[in-house]
Amino acid sequence: MQFKNKDFSDAREVLNVRNLRIGLTGRPNAKPVIDGIDLTIRAGETHCLVGESGSGKSVTSLAAMGLLPKSALEVQGGSITLDDFEITSASHSQMRQLRARRIAMIFQEPMTALNPVLRVGEQIMEVLNMHSDLSPSEAKKRTLDMMDQVHLPDVNRIFSAFPHQLSGGQRQRIMIAMALILDPDLLIADEPTTALDVTTQLQILKLIAEMQERHGTAVLFITHDMGVVAEIADTVTVMQQGQIVERAPIAELLTNPQKEYTRTLLTAVPNLTPRPARAAASQSEVVRVAGLDMTYGGGGFFRRSEGVRAAQDVSFTIQPGRTLGIVGESGSGKSTVARAIMRLIDPTAGSVNVAGTEIAQLSRRQLRDHRKHLQIVFQDPYRSLNPRWTVARSLCEGPINFGVPRAEAMRHAAELMELVDLPRDALDRYPHQFSGGQRQRIAIARAVAMKPDLLVADEAVSALDVSVQAQVLDLLDDIQERFGVAMLFITHDLRVAAQICDEVLVMQRGEVVEYGPAGEVLANPRHDYTRNLIEAAPGRHWDFANYRVLDSATMTTGATA
């Protein structure tokens, strides 16, 4: 693993943040959101801002753009200067002049950051119209040129496409083109790749690096993915609760973190080395899925439509106490498989045998009795709990459905709270009174309360930040050990899969491309697709938890660092 190691001390300081304080509008005495931070970014430098969710990364970047939501947040002290121009006191029109021309920004969600009703070409060209006096044809030429530079294919067609007609990666390229078309001094990228799958992520990261190279732009890159940081950063700033914890050149930070918090952050990053497979609790199978097929839609009254074949001929088995991971890029059919097994959708074909019962063809009513054998934990901890129900009520719902008396269900719920390490009084609270990680633990407790034979976790940790993610993974591990449940774990994060799975099944466009023990598949992928996935994982050669390069012995792939 090589880190960037260019020295920037002579380079021009593009952005200078001094003792910045940002607090809630009109409430100067409340605890500030940003509490006196300093930040310097120099020309050509890639400065990564990391830290847990809510630590103030986005707020800092918005402040630099002069885009703080005025009604909620305001600068309460300190200064932000862009080449000696003071941003905190700039007027609206001054700021407008500055944006795009001197300082540009790429946002996280390529889905929502583009205006869905305007053609993407126009959206890029708008920047030129606003800030230059190019003629329309020149502007268009310049736009097409820029689109070419970000490696968009078939630029003429894409120019007049609407955002929804583009893939996520293409949209993000449009965002980048838009941000860089006026060659700004500073580019702020707020989690620009988090929503993309690994392969696309890699392309975008390369693209940003390339553009930076070409234009000498200073980049403020915000992310919570340490892998990405390892890949691209020159300098890293770690933030926690609105304050700066530590700042260091990348190599220094990763090999020798000074602060406890930085260390926790790094330790929590799962590494890509698969853990040793565990012994099955018994040879019997809890789940046997064979030839599962799922086609969405199709039919139709006027036109017979094709339908989406979201899963084709998926077969696997899981033994008690073992975890099967399903990995694959977005849209490959992972959730479809999970929902078919849960019978939340009716599979088009195939058999699903859970705990000895064939459930693929059961009627809704018959199915109800078998529900207790299989439970699911969803990705989004906000939405998978009824916001109007107390935790206790959510936890008791399942057992009561199966005839457990309320009092007993309540008692059991209290025990479960202990199991997932939440205070007992949490039972009487509502979901919105918990953090994301706590909520996910409640959801897990709810599933476990049914004493299922199979626990399906569909991206159960993807929405959580690394440190919380680590806690939840530990919890799942613990539960599995204790109750010996079989687990179907769905993720797009290979690091997570490596940490938790005994076996891995790789899906691409609805089909299983590879299925085998985790060690085998991840360490020694046979299929190109799997290999691409692994290679695209950023920072894969670094063992964050141990501040060192990954033991090359376990890295038998032929990839070069």
């Binding site: 500055l98 795009a100 869905p116 305007l118 929804h164």
Partner: protein, 313 residues
């Protein structure tokens, strides 16, 4: 697109049929006897009976219904029981004023309400917002006829800018049309403006919180461009929807406004017909207004795709 429109048009058939059955039954269950109004106060029961026979009002309900549906299918709307003139003809005379006033109302409302809503959303939770929204709620909370009287009092009686009442078709000159249509349109617009302004504001508020608005600002786009180019088009669909469904409200308003301003439109015709139990006229009118409503909402749905390229049929 065409397939979609065709599908929608086909889907209106059951709706219109239900409307037809419903209206027919409702009317025949309603007390009142067109023969009696035809014959006047001094008619004797025997005379009434003979007239009822003539008008076919003594036939079994089912026969009456199928006769009517049969006529409808042949495009015959029947003949008014009272005036003995063809319903289609009456409809032709009366539709124009209502449609013209409605169009003018919608135009005025949209021109007024959309900017109002946009500005209120932009200046969310400031006094501008409060003022705009209070005005809209006020439009909601005063009965239409009171607004009509107030406007007449001010503009026709005190200021004498426009006539008190009446209607002139645009073909008789834009000036005369405009001067007579402006007050009724304004009267009707008060409800509509309220409706659209509130919807615009709500929809804009939602859109203004979207990421792409932040993107636009990050590009250094001017605020008016942000509002009208980036935000408004995205906010358009619910606004259009409310214009469509609010059309029903407009028709209710029309009934009253046409009385206050003495406009010979279909609203008044229908109320008169209901009060006189002129069945063929009521049936045709309600079918017609229901049809217009359905059509307007079809137009609205189709226009979605004009504003939002993601919507394709």
């Amino acid at each position: 697109m065409l397939v979609y429109i065709l599908k929608r048009v086909l889907a209106t058939i059951p709706v219109m049929l239900i409307v037809a059955i419903f209206v027919f039954l409702l009317l025949r269950l309603t007390p009142g006897d067109p023969a009696a109004i035809l014959a006047g106060d001094a008619a004797t029961p025997a005379q009434l009976e003979r007239i009822r026979d003539r008008l076919g009002l003594n036939d079994p309900l089912l026969t009456q219904f199928f006769t009517w549906i049969g006529q409808l299918v042949r495009g015959d709307l029947g003949v008014s029981l009272l005036s003995n003139t063809s319903v289609a003809g009456m409809l032709g005379d009366r539709l124009g004023p209502t449609i013209n006033i409605a169009l003018m109302t919608i135009t005025i409302s949209v021109l007024l309400a959309v900017p109002m809503g946009v500005i209120a959303a932009w200046r969310h939770r400031t006094w501008v917002d409060f003022l705009v929204m209070s005005f809209s709620v006020l439009g909601f909370s005063v009965p239409v006829f009171v607004i009509g009287y107030i406007l007449i009092q001010i503009f026709a009686i005190e200021l004498r800018w426009v006539p008190v009442q009446g209607y002139k078709a645009p073909s008789e000159g834009i000036g005369p049309f405009f001067s007579r249509a402006i007050l009724p349109s304004l009267t009707l617009a008060t409800i509509y403006v309220a409706l659209i302004a509130r919807m615009t504001r709500a929809s804009m508020l939602e859109v203004l919180g979207e990421d792409y608005i932040r993107t636009a600002r990050a590009k250094g786009v001017r605020e008016n461009v942000v509002l009208f180019r980036h935000a408004l088009r995205n906010a358009a669909v619910p606004i259009l929807t409310i214009i469509g469904t609010g059309f029903a409200l407009l028709i209710s308003g029309v009934v009253v406004t046409e009385s206050v301003f003495n406009i010979p439109g279909i609203g008044r015709l229908t109320v008169d017909a209901i009060l006189a139990r002129d069945y063929p006229v009521i049936q045709a009118m309600i079918l017609l207004t229901a049809g217009i409503y359905v059509f307007v909402n079809l137009l609205v749905d189709v226009s979605y795709s004009f504003f939002d390229p993601r919507i394709r049929y």
